[in-house]
Amino acid sequence: MPNSSDARDAIFSSIRTALQVPANADTAAVAAEYAALPRLYKREGTMNSEALLDLFTHRLVEYDAGVCRISAENISREIARILGERGRKRIAIPDGLPPEWLPAGFDFQNASRFNEHQLDQLEGVLTGCTVACAETGSIVLQNAAAQGPRSLTLVPDFHLCVVFAAQVVETVPECFARLDATAALPTTFFSGPSATADIEMTRIKGVHGPRFLDVLLVL
């Protein structure tokens, strides 16, 4: 490798010359300046939970995702119904997915350690999530229990995601507030199925990521 420490020194020196600052920044002063930055945008949501879930559902439908509101005791039955309707049997699941969610009659495979070729053989993936944002219709996955590594929810062509009402927040800042503690984990926001608008600005569903997304919203 080229010795990049020369380059590093040169770049830092060029930056400090341009900014006219000394090499040892007063970190307390920088922190104080940062703390004083204006933050007058909306950080807390104001909706009641019914309006919040309506908005979330509406956004998902706009993205062409399937959404079903269900109660907690029906999770397994609803999973069976959707997989049946979609005609999918070989389903990837991550570590930590509650076993009571899994209906009989399907081939659920713990795929947390599958490589991409093995994942490519499966017909779908079933996961939970970390948090969801109603205002943007986004669902956030992290490498954690019931969610698994990033490739798990990327390679299979169909994603069935279980979201609990308590996981849904209104605004993007509330979403980040929930993620802050686990910020170091690999994190994926997804808002609807994979899409592109590169050809004549026409939004087309499904390019490389899962082309089909269903969400079970558990009340």
Binding site: A18, T136, H208
Partner: protein, 501 residues
């Protein structure tokens, strides 16, 4: 290492390059169609947020703060990225970045790499350099794939192929993917790209990306995208190399809560783009085993010294200023002869070249201010454009040719005339007589002679009135004592509104 082939961008000035593009009605139709759609979508989703202005204010403040302490935050990013298992490299210029990336790829004996759309790699000419060294880069973003397979250049940095319509894309795919029966529906074309690239995602072990944001406090990297090609490239390969401009760092993870609202709404008119990926270093059992960040200066750090122009580096590459710009609407991106076109390109490109190149770009604007109004980080582009025009003039005045040039002499003469009322009035009187030969039948001056001809190339000029305001005023003052106001003389064109230029 073989040096890269020459850049696909020529040294033509903006007016020269624009002339060709203005003659291409197909490109103009495609650009107008695409920019109109994005603009309408952007306006709708921005209008939804009552706190949009506050988000802009915060976004601008965070970016300006990060730039004011760039050394501090870069050092913090480097520490935290390294602690999380990443490797940080520093590149002073394009050649150094190319060398670092090539050596990393060669170390893994890779003959092919997959790429996520990155304008920074376009900036350093990475693809040409890799090809010259026997490594084939595969672009995976649909638009970038269209550009690559069509041997074309990007014309927009969010939707690089917006100058191509579906029939043109179909022709490229039919030819390059050997699919004679391919349909022309966008779905058909996207599906062809899916099949073409999936095999590559599963096979190729080294990926190259850019990044939208670097987070100093935990060493995180954030990439936003639509198709999932980004996720494929940054998740499946064994090695990921991210080439990122040094200005892309933000202080805290929570700062993303601002930019992940303003960026997608400004860029593509979506409330959130389909995928955002955020990760730190390497994570056992998830994603690449080796992660490299190449931090690129390439002309950025000197821009920090210019208090007025520093805001240029606040840019988050949303492209909203391109879509809003009446000049870009007419010419499209290629006229700027730069990786970074449009209003932001007109201020960024010449500065990255230390004002030695692309010196016509600060003039590629009508200064209407639409770019500033839509900018999600409040870069005052018109202000910087004028500032850079001043720099171009000052540079020219330092050379003998510039000093003796017609432009400088003309401007100096104008300054001399405007400085003194007697001289100005004399010039006005001479002008009133002299202009008679250039005023057309319609009452406008359509062609000025010689060195003044540039002014009337694209606009007609109103002739000097028979009586100037100053003459009228002097006459009025003289007639005042005892005279009735109704008898006071009027300037010959007093009923006309001032002619806005």
């Amino acid at each position: 290492m073989k040096e890269q082939a020459h850049s696909p961008w020529s040294n033509r000035s903006f007016p020269e390059a624009a002339k060709d593009l203005l003659a291409d009605s197909q490109i103009r139709r495609n650009v107008r169609h695409a920019t109109n759609i994005i603009q309408a979508k952007r306006n709708r989703v921005v209008g939804e947020l009552p706190d949009w202005e506050q988000l802009r204010v915060s976004g601008a403040a965070i970016r300006a703060h990060a730039l004011a302490h760039l050394d501090h935050y870069l050092a913090q990013f480097e520490d935290n990225c390294t602690r999380a298992g990443g490797h940080v490299h520093w590149a002073r210029d394009a050649a150094e970045a190319n060398r670092i990336i090539l050596e990393l790829i060669q170390r893994h004996s890779a003959k092919e790499v997959i790429k996520i759309k990155t304008m920074t790699s376009e900036e350093i000419g990475l693809n040409r350099n890799l090809e010259a060294n026997g490594i084939h880069p595969h672009e995976t973003d649909l638009a970038e794939l269209i550009i690559q397979l069509g041997h074309d250049k990007p014309s927009h940095f969010v939707v690089p192929a917006l100058h191509k319509n579906r029939q043109q894309v179909r022709e490229i795919f039919q030819r390059e993917m050997h699919l004679p029966d391919l349909g022309e529906q966008p779905e058909d074309l996207a599906s062809a790209a899916r099949t073409y690239l999936r095999e590559k995602y599963l096979r190729i072990k080294v990926a190259v990306s850019g990044a939208n944001f670097l987070v100093a406090e935990n060493g995180a990297v954030c990439i936003v995208e639509s198709e999932g090609n980004g996720r494929m490239c940054l998740t499946l390969p064994d090695v990921l190399i991210s080439l990122v401009g040094i200005e892309k760092v933000v202080p805290r993870y929570r700062d993303l809560e601002v930019f992940l609202q303003t960026l997608p709404r400004s860029a593509t008119g979506e409330r959130m783009n389909p995928y955002n990926s955020i990760w730190t270093g390497v994570h056992a059992g998830d994603g690449p085993k080796e992660f490299h960040v190449v931090l690129l200066d390439n002309g950025r750090s000197p821009i920090l010294a210019d208090g007025e122009a520093r805001q240029t580096l606040q840019c988050i590459r949303c492209g909203a200023c391109l879509n809003a710009c009446p000049v870009y609407h007419q010419t499209g991106g290629h006229a700027y002869e730069s990786v970074y076109p449009g209003p932001i390109g007109a201020i960024l490109t010449p500065q990255l070249h230390q004002m030695k190149d692309a010196r016509s770009l600060p003039y590629a604007s009508s200064l209407c201010g639409a770019c500033y109004e839509v900018c999600p980080v409040k870069i005052n582009i018109p202000e910087v454009l004028i500032h850079l025009r001043g720099k171009v003039v000052q540079q020219d005045q330092k050379t003998l040719a510039g000093k003796l040039g017609l432009w400088n002499i003309g401007m100096q003469a104008a300054a001399f005339l405007f400085e003194d009322s007697t001289r100005l009035s004399l010039a006005q009187h001479l002008g009133q007589i002299g202009q008679k030969v250039v005023v057309s039948k319609n009452g406008f001056i359509e062609h000025l002679p010689l060195m003044l001809s540039g002014w009337t190339q694209t606009r007609d000029l109103r002739p000097l009135p028979a009586q100037s305001f100053r003459d009228w005023w002097a006459q009025r003052e003289k007639a005042k004592p005892g005279a009735a106001s109704s008898s006071s003389p009027q300037p010959s064109n007093a009923t006309e509104k001032p002619h806005a230029e």
